[in-house]
Amino acid sequence: MKKLATEERDGMSTIVRTVTRWVSAFIILYGLYIVAYGHLTPGGGFPGGVIMAGGFVLLMLAFGKKRLTALLPVARASALDCLGALGFWLLAVAGLVFGGGVFFRNFLPHGLRLRLWSAGIIPLCNVAIALKVTASLVLMLVALSVLRVKAGGTDEDFVSDIEEE
């Protein structure tokens, strides 16, 4: 462990990095699966989003923060966060426009039972929620875990990491 601390890179040892590289794709894929099948099996936007965010956070822990922010810059994550919420809002208001004036009306055709394309707007809601949850959890954990808080520090060392917009 002493060896690790003296190394000039952030992140963890070779084993963690390699295993992370092997599994992170599948974690994110599994999150996507949970989102896509949220209306048929247990799951949905929130659990799937949490799983995907877990994949990203694993990357951050194994490879360091630079890798994650290269993949998903904070400003872009922030924008995705808003876009997810906006998408959900649009689906709700679309019911007002296309669904005969009823807020949140499930106005799309319901499709065949137990097929992927069923339940109208619910899968789309799941996708929007997943976007929102993934982006906001990643942002949250980046903000909480990567910043180094110095007691009595100034604003600059705190804010500089998140406010790079």
């Binding site: 099996t41 247990p42 929130f46 039972r113 137990l114 949250m140 903000a143 909480l144 910043l147 808080v149 110095k150 007691a151 009595g152 520090g153 705190f158």
Partner: protein, 115 residues
Amino acid sequence: MVYLLCLVLFLIGIYGVLTQRNLIKIILSLAVVESSVSLFLILLGYRVGGIAPIETAARPHESFIGMSVDPLPQAMVLTAIVISLGVLALSIAIAMRLYQRYGTYDVTQIRNLRG
């Protein structure tokens, strides 16, 4: 009986919030309070020997409507969990900022305001 245990958990959490001096421990107590309520809510929907209210090709919803557990508390608990997640994240962020300003997590030393 199980419901009473939830209440006990709730009270333990409240006790922690009131007596702990460390900000992080207060936050953990808060999490205990919130979890106890979620636990209570989810237990309400339980029925002995109930099955999951999930429709599959082999099990259409007509066949389990009287024997599955109540799905409504599950939906409510999920929402409550999301809310408590938000509160928790916010409280930890505030605690970090407080640590930055005061250099301590001890509430007895964070006392600039008169109660």
